[in-house]
Amino acid sequence: MLRRSALFLAFTATALLVPSAAGAQTISQSGQAYPNRIVNGTNEGYSTRPQNLNPLGISYQDCISDMTLQFSVTLSGFTGSDTLEVWASLNSDCTANTDRGIGATAAVCWGLRAGNIVNPVINTPQTYTFNVRVQDLVGWQQAPPAPGEAANPPAQGPSACSAQPTFAAVPMNINFLAIDGDGNSDGTPYQYQINTDMVGPPPPSGVGETVGETIFNVTWTANSDSDTAGYDIFIDPIPGQEGSETGVSLEAGQKLICPAESGTSSSDATTDVEASTDALDDVVDSSLDTGAFEASTAPLPYDGGCYTVNTGGVPPTSVNGYNCNDSILASGVTLDGGAEGGTTVVTTSDEGGTSDEAGTVEEGSGGISTIPSQYIYKQNLGFTIADKSVGSYTIQGLIDGVTYTVVVASVDGTGNIGPPSPEVCDYPAPVQDFWQNYEQDGGGAPGFCALETIGSGGTSLAGVGCVLGLAAIARRRRRRVR
C-alpha cells in the first residue's frame, strides 16, 4: 500500500513538473485582435478600408505604401535562454526546425525582421510590440530565402508587391515562436493568419461602346472568375474637366471650344469638312459660353479651358471606326509579379512624364492598374460597380462632341483594381427620341391634367396632386438644350 502510494505521488509530480520544464513559454495576443497599420509613421488603426473590401487583409496598395503591421503580444514563462522570433509562412506553423531551414536544404518559413527579443527574463507576463513590414511578409511567398539566411533575410522592397503569382488571394501565417537555447521551438506559439491579395482580377473582355446625347454606354462581358467583385470605369477627359486638355490638335471635322473668359470664340480647323452641321454647332455653341480661336492643324498650346469637339465631319478613323490612343489610359498598364512567359517590363508615367510605376506585365491575366485614380469615373464618390455580373454602364452628363476614351478594369474583394481593358472611344452627339419626334410633328401638349377642366374651376385635390406629380417628374427630367 505504501509502495503504491509512493509510485502514484512520483507519477503525479513527474506529470506536473515535466511540462513546466519543457514548454512553459506562452505567447498570446494582447489587446485588440488585429494589428495596427502604420503607414508613413502614422497609425491608421487596424482597418484602412471599408468592411466590404477585406479591411483586415493585405492589398497591393497596402504593400506598395510600405505598410507595417504592429502586433502587440504578451510573453510569459520565458527563461533567460529563450528567444522570441517572428516567422512567416504560407502553410507551416514554423515550429519544425526543418521548416525554418535548420538541417534542411530549403526553408518554407522566413524571418520577418520584427525585432526578435533575445534572452528575455520574464517572471511575470510582459507585453511587447513587434512591427512586421508587409513587404517582408509577402515578398518571399514564391521563393523563401536560402536556409542560411531564412532567420534573417534581407529586407524586401516594392518589387515584393509583385510576388503574387496569380490573382487568387494567398492566405499567410505570421508565427510568434519561443526558441530555446538549442534553437528549438518551445512552449505555446501564437499564430496570426492574414489574407493577402495584391493582384487584381483580369479585365473584362468584349468591351464595346455606344453613345447618345450626353451619354456614353460601355458594355463588356462580365468576368466569371471568383476573384472579381466588381468593376471600375476609367474615362478621359474626366467629366466636368473637359477643358483641361493640353496640346490639343485639331483634325478634320473637329472644332476647338474655349471659355469666353479667354476673350476668344470657337473656330473650326482649316481642314474642317463641310459635313459639319449647324445642328451640332448649335448644340455645342449654346451649351457652352465659348470663345473663338483661329483654326490650326498644329498642336495648340492652350493650357486650360479648351477642348475639341467633333462636328460631324470625318473624325479620326481606324479599322473599326475610331482610333483610340489616349496616352493616359493607354499607359495604365499592369503589374503582375511572377507571370511566366509573355511578360514585359513596363514603366508608366504621369501626365508630367514622371515615371511612377514599374513591373512585369502578363497580358490577359490579373494585375494592378496604374492609371491615376482621378480618372476613375466618380472617383470622388468612391464609385465602383459592386456586382461582377454587371456587363454595362451608362456614363451621363457628358458634353456632346467631345471624344471620350474609356477603359474598364475589374476590382477584387480587397479593392485591387486589375489591369484595364482595351480602350474604346467615341463622342456623344445629339439624338432625337420619340417624344421629340412626336412634338416636332405637332403632337401637342401632354394633357395630363386636362380632366381638371371638367370641374368648376377651383383648385381641387386632384389638381394639387397633379401639380406635385409633374413637379416631381420635372425634377427628374432630362434637360435637353435645343
Partner: protein
C-alpha cells in the same frame, strides 16, 4: 362628347341597376342554393389579360400624317398585360350577369433614338440611347356576360361585351429619364372610350369533378379561357385637346375565374 355620355351612361346604368337589383339577387341565390348545393355563391370575376398591342399614336390628326411612333418605335406589336376585376352585381335570370369592372395594365415599347446627323466614321444613325413609351391603361366598364348557354344548356361558351371609359397614363422617356422637349415633359394621360366583345370557353367542362372540388375548396365557380376584341379610342372625348392616342385595337387573350 356623345360617346362620352354613352360610355358614362353605360357604366352608371350598370351600377344603378346592380345596386337596386342586389336584394332580388340575394333572394334568388337563397332559392338557387337549395337547388344546387354544390355551387358556392358567385359575385365576382378576375381576368388576366394578354394582348399584342400597338398604340394608335400616329392616328392623331394633329400629326397631319406624320408617323413619329412608327419611325421611332416601329409598328410591331408589344405585349400588354392587364388585370380586370368585375363585380357581377346583377344576375339576369335566363341570360347572364351584369356589373361594373375595372382594369389596369402595362405595356412598354422601346427603340433606339436616332442621331440628329449620321454619327462617326461609319455614319451610323441609330444611337446608343434608348427611347421608349410606357402606357398604363386604366378603365372602368360595364360587363355583360351571357352565361345562360353554359348554365342552362351546358354548352361551355359564354359570349360577353364591355363598354366604358378608359384613361391611360403614359410616359415617354430615354436613357436618362423622362423625355422633355421645348418645355413639354413627356408624361400625360389620355381619355376615351373602352369597348370589348369576346367569347369565353368554360374549362370546367374538361374535368367537372375537379371543378367542383375547386369550388368547394376555394370558392371558384368557373374558369374560362377567352379571346376578346378590344378597342380603346383615347381621343380625349372632347374634354382633352388632341391627347396622345395611346389606345388602339387588339386581340386579347387570357383567363377568367368567377367566384
Amino acid at each position: 362628347m356623345k360617346r362620352l355620355v354613352l360610355a358614362a351612361a353605360a357604366g352608371t346604368a350598370a351600377l344603378v341597376v346592380a345596386t337596386s337589383a342586389r336584394a332580388q339577387e340575394d333572394r334568388q341565390e337563397v332559392l338557387s342554393s337549395h337547388h344546387k348545393m354544390y355551387e358556392s355563391a358567385q359575385h365576382f370575376a378576375i381576368e388576366l389579360r394578354f394582348s399584342p398591342f400597338t398604340p394608335a399614336v400616329d392616328s392623331n390628326p394633329s400629326l397631319h400624317g406624320a408617323t413619329p411612333f412608327a419611325s421611332t418605335l416601329h409598328d410591331s406589336s408589344r405585349l400588354m398585360f392587364q388585370m380586370e376585376f368585375d363585380w357581377q352585381a346583377l344576375r339576369i335570370p335566363h341570360f347572364g350577369t351584369l356589373g361594373p369592372g375595372i382594369g389596369v395594365g402595362y405595356t412598354k415599347m422601346s427603340g433606339d433614338a436616332q442621331f440628329v446627323v449620321p454619327h462617326g466614321p461609319n455614319q451610323i444613325t441609330n444611337s446608343g440611347e434608348s427611347t421608349s413609351l410606357e402606357i398604363f391603361p386604366l378603365y372602368a366598364v360595364a360587363v355583360l356576360r351571357a352565361d345562360v348557354v353554359w348554365r342552362e344548356l351546358r354548352v361551355p361558351l359564354v359570349p360577353y361585351a364591355k363598354l366604358g371609359l378608359g384613361y391611360s397614363i403614359w410616359r415617354a422617356s430615354n436613357t436618362v429619364g423622362t423625355s422633355d422637349y421645348a418645355g413639354q415633359v413627356g408624361v400625360g394621360g389620355s381619355l376615351g372610350t373602352e369597348f370589348g366583345v369576346g367569347l369565353a370557353f368554360n374549362l370546367n367542362t374538361f374535368d367537372e369533378y375537379s371543378a367542383k372540388n375547386f369550388d368547394e375548396s376555394v370558392g371558384v365557380n368557373n374558369t374560362y379561357a377567352f379571346a376578346e376584341y378590344t378597342r380603346a379610342d383615347l381621343d380625349g372625348l372632347g374634354v382633352q385637346a388632341n391627347p396622345m392616342r395611346v389606345g388602339g385595337q387588339s386581340w386579347t387573350f387570357g383567363m377568367t375565374v368567377e367566384f
